[in-house]
C-alpha cells in the first residue's frame, strides 16, 4: 500500500475508531491490563495507538462498560480491566451492526465473489 496521504489517514482513523471499542469489549471478556491489551490488539491486526487506547479504557470504565481492579500480586501494581455485563450487551449490538454494515457494503459494491 502506498503511504496514505493526510485525507486518507484521517478517513481510515475515522473508520477504525468504533472498531477499537468493539475489539476492546470483546478482548476484555478475559481481564487484562493496558499494555498487554495494546500488544495483543496490534498482534491481531487491530491497529491502535497507546495514546488512543489508554484514555479509551478509562472512558469505557466511566461509562460502565468495563470494570477495573488493581492487581497488586506482582511487584508492579497493574489495573486489570474486564468487560461488564453492560459492555457485553453493547459488544453484541455493535457486532451485529458491524456485520450488517459489512453485508450492506458487500451488496453495494456488488462483489459476489
Amino acid at each position: 500500500m502506498d503511504q496514505p496521504d493526510d485525507t486518507t489517514a484521517a478517513h481510515l482513523q475515522e473508520l477504525r475508531r468504533g472498531t477499537v471499542v468493539l475489539a476492546c469489549l470483546e478482548r476484555l471478556r478475559t481481564p487484562d491490563y493496558g499494555y498487554a491489551l495494546l500488544e495483543s490488539l496490534n498482534g491481531l491486526g487491530i491497529l491502535v495507538d497507546a495514546n488512543t487506547l489508554y484514555p479509551l479504557l478509562r472512558r469505557l470504565e466511566k461509562q460502565g462498560l468495563l470494570t477495573s481492579e488493581w492487581n497488586t500480586d506482582e511487584a508492579r501494581p497493574r489495573k486489570f480491566y474486564r468487560t461488564s455485563q453492560t459492555g457485553e450487551r453493547l459488544a453484541a449490538a455493535l457486532m451485529a451492526d458491524w456485520r450488517r454494515i459489512d453485508d450492506a457494503l458487500t451488496g453495494l459494491t456488488g462483489d459476489a465473489s
Binding site: 491490563y33 493496558g34 499494555y35 500488544e39 497507546a50 495514546n51 489508554y54 484514555p55 478509562r58 472512558r59 466511566k62 488493581w70 508492579r76 501494581p77 497493574r78 489495573k79
Partner: protein, 346 residues
Amino acid sequence: MTTLTERYVWAAARSVPESQREELSRDLAERIADTIDARIESGASDPESAERDALVELGHPATLAASYSDRPPMLIGPRYYFVWRRLLIFLESFIPATAAAASALGLVIAGGGWEVVGQAIGIGVTVAVHLAFWLTLVFALIERAGSGQWPGTGAAADGRGSAEADPLAWTPEQLPQLPESRRPHRRADLIATLVWLCIAAGLLLWQQFGVVWEDGERSAVPLLSPELWAFWIPYLYVLIALEAGFAVWIFRNDWSPASAVVNVVLNAAFAVPLIWLFVEGRLFSDEFLAVVSPHLDADAVRALSVLFVALVVGACLWDAIDGIVKAAKGGGRGTLSFPGNRSTRP
C-alpha cells in the same frame, strides 16, 4: 519509580481536577513503566535512555492529561463556536466605537482639546479587549458547565443530545421569519425605538447645558452630577448603543428566549446603577438640588424619591416582562394574523 517518571506523573496530575489525580497518577505510572520495559525489550532504547525516550514518546504531560480528563482541551467547542463568533463580531462592531465616541464627547465637554482623540482611541481599544475577554470567558464557562461529555464521543458534541436540558440549544422555533411574513409594524417599531434612543442620547447631553428652569428663566445648571461624565454617562451611552443594536437584532431575528434574557439583562444594566446612584445621592448635581430644594418639603422629597424609583423599576420591569411574553409567544411580532404566515401556535 525514578525521579524523572515521578516528575512527569506529578506534572500531568496537577493539570487535572483533584478528584482525578490519584487515579491518573497510578494509571500513568503503570503505563510509563510498561512503556519503558517494552522499549528495552524491543531494543528501541538502551536501558539507560529508555525512561527518557518513553517520556518523550508520551509527549507534554498536560496534553497527555487532557486526553485522560473529562474536560475538553479547548476553550470553546463546536457547539458554541458559531454563536460565540457571531456575538463577538456583532458586539465588537459598534460597542468600542460607541464607547470611544461617548468618552471623547465627555472629555470635550470637560474642557479637553485635541489630546482627547488619543484618549478616546485608548478607551475604545480597552473596551474592545474587555468585551472580547469577558464574552469569551462566559462562553468558556458555558462550555464547561453541564454535561461532562468528551467532545466527539457523545451526542452532546454535535448539539443534538441534550436539546431538552440545554437552554442554548438550537430549536426550529428560532428560525427567522421569512421576510414576506413579517408584520409591516416591525419596521415602524424599529424606527420608533431608534428615534427614542436618539432623543435619550440627546437629552443626556443637553441636560448638561440646562433644562432647569428657575423662576421662569432657563439657567445653565446641569441636571445630572458632572462627576458622572467620568464613567456613568459614557456607560449610559454604551447602554443606549446596545439597546439600538438590540432593537436591530430583534427586527432581524424576532424575539426568542435568548433575546428575552438579553432584554432582561439590558434593563437590569440600566435600572440597577441608576437607582444605586440615586440612593447614594450621586445622580443629580448639587446645583440642581439647590435650585429645587427651596420648593420642596421633606414629605415631597420622600414622595418624589419613591415615585422616581418606582418609575425606573416599573418601566424596566414592564419592558423586561414584555420581552419575555413576546418570546414565550414564540416571536410575537409578526407570527399572528398575517396572510401567508402559516406558523400555527396554540
